[in-house]
């Protein structure tokens, strides 16, 4: 059974139809890359699935839980308890990291497990330290975000999301705010998570990375899914014109 199911999702901002009719599925342990030009609705789609935006129509099913009351018209969201359960099974890594600047790297990671999941302090701290070490941030436990490079901050923010042990991890252009020489260190970590069968959805402009890491690729344009399939299909076999011209711009 799919761990993530998006069905006929629609979203408008005023008269601007950002997402027109989005449907797709993702199996547990799979990695999905979403590519497409700016303004195609990729980020909005991610924000609807992670409940940072409300959708206008459709449904999202995460780990068997429906975000919307089935068959409700006008659309009615599920009870708060369900939405919270869904939220706690999803993690999001932001383009701009959004680390808490007044907390150290370690505190950024341990705050939610301790306060939200009521996990044991010592164990949480040990787990966070282990994550930081794994991500090449040994000795940075007590550094504040402003003392870290962009790449380091993004790695802390991935650790922060992972510490909540989400079922699905979402990435909203995780390397777009980074200098080119820093993107590699972040992509390496995401790749490692993929090897550990972490279920992930990654919105990205890194085409080579999208192709290498993903089991499945979606190409979006103007609020619709234009193509979807295996990386090989989307990047090599598809004859779609819009996709071809989009990829041509990247391979320049």
């Amino acid at each position: 059974m799919a761990i993530l199911e998006v069905k006929h999702l629609k979203k408008s901002f005023g008269s601007n139809h950002v997402l027109k009719d989005i449907s797709f599925e993702l199996e547990k342990g799979e990695v999905l890359s979403i590519i497409g030009p700016s303004g195609s609705g990729k980020s909005t789609l991610l924000r609807c699935i992670t409940q940072l935006e409300t959708m206008d129509a459709g449904d999202v099913q995460v780990n068997g839980l429906n975000m919307v009351v089935p068959g409700s018209n006008p659309l009615k969201y599920a009870p708060a308890k369900t939405l919270r359960d869904i939220r706690l099974s999803t993690g999001l890594v932001f383009q701009n990291f959004n680390l808490f600047p007044h907390l150290t790297a370690l505190q950024n990671i341990t705050l939610a497990p301790i306060r939200v999941l009521n996990e044991d302090r010592t164990q949480t701290r040990e787990f966070a330290k282990m994550l930081l070490a794994k991500f090449g941030l040994e000795g940075k436990e007590n550094a504040y975000p402003c003392e870290l490079s962009g790449g380091q901050q993004q790695r802390v923010s991935i650790a922060r999301a992972l510490a909540m042990k989400p079922k699905i991890l979402f990435f909203d252009e995780p390397t777009s705010a980074l200098d080119p020489e820093l993107t590699g260190e972040v992509l390496k970590i995401i790749k490692r998570l993929a090897n550990h069968h972490m279920t992930m959805v990654i919105v990205t402009h890194e085409m080579a990375f999208a192709r290498d890491v993903a089991h499945k690729v979606i190409f979006m344009d103007q609020g619709v899914i234009v193509e979807q399939g295996s990386p090989n299909y989307v990047f090599n076999e598809s004859n779609n014109e819009r996709l071809a011209s989009f990829l041509a711009r990247f391979n320049g």
Binding site: T50, R87, L92, F94, V116, Y144, M164
Partner: protein, 213 residues
């Protein structure tokens, strides 16, 4: 020439009243200011509109007038505030309006991403406010708050309008008694030294909060 040894005890007593007005005003106006700031940011018009009106009246009319209005107005309404409590009430509700605008500016300066990150981690609204937003607001508002606090020390001299015997009113009496401007000058030194200490305190706080950007 006035004699400093007889002048200092008198002015010292006035200064205690000044400090009492100062301390009590801060004690009441800061929490009240936070509540008013939240009220002004409320999405409910029936809360935000009256609060906006309150702030505009408090900032738009002289504090002197507000002190008189509270003192005589309370008598008119049958509450009969004593002079000192009337002054504290007037100062508190006036300064709360200024603090509210400082707090609001500080709260609104926090990027939306902070709320979103907190929400994604499952923090409740309360946890987000107290653990994520407020600590960052505190840092942002230190310079502007320092301004208000320093002004407050000097503003306490307005209490003389309803004959509260604070520092300045006593100094003025001594000025008349000695027929010399010297007591006023000494009072000025009291205000200045108090504010010098406050400035140092705020500089210290600012430095303490400088551990992150």
């Amino acid at each position: 020439m006035a004699d400093l040894t007889s002048l200092l005890p008198i002015l010292g007593e006035g200064f205690l009243t000044t400090l009492a007005i100062f301390g009590l005003t801060l004690l009441f106006s800061i929490p009240l200011g936070l509540i008013i700031a939240l009220g002004k940011m409320s999405k409910f018009k029936f809360i935000s509109l009256p609060v906006s009106f309150y702030i505009s009246v408090m900032r738009g009319t002289p504090l002197l007038l507000q002190i008189v209005a509270i003192y005589f107005g309370s008598a008119y309404l049958g509450w009969n505030f004593d002079r000192f409590p009337a002054v504290v009430v007037a100062f508190s509700i006036n300064y709360a309006a200024y603090f509210a605008e400082i707090f609001r500016g500080g709260i609104q300066a926090i990027p939306r991403g902070q709320y979103e990150a907190a929400a994604m981690l499952g923090l409740t609204k309360r946890q987000t406010f107290y653990r994520i937003i407020l600590p960052q607001v505190a840092k942002h508002i230190v310079p502007a708050s320092a301004n208000e606090v320093i002004t407050l020390i000097k503003d306490t001299s307005l209490a003389q309008v309803i004959a509260v015997t604070e520092l300045f009113s006593l100094a003025k009496k001594q000025q008349a008694a000695y027929a010399s401007i010297y007591p006023l000058f000494v009072a000025g030194i009291f205000y200045y030294v108090a504010n010098l200490l406050l400035s140092c305190l705020f500089a210290y706080v600012e430095k303490k909060l400088n551990y992150y950007k």
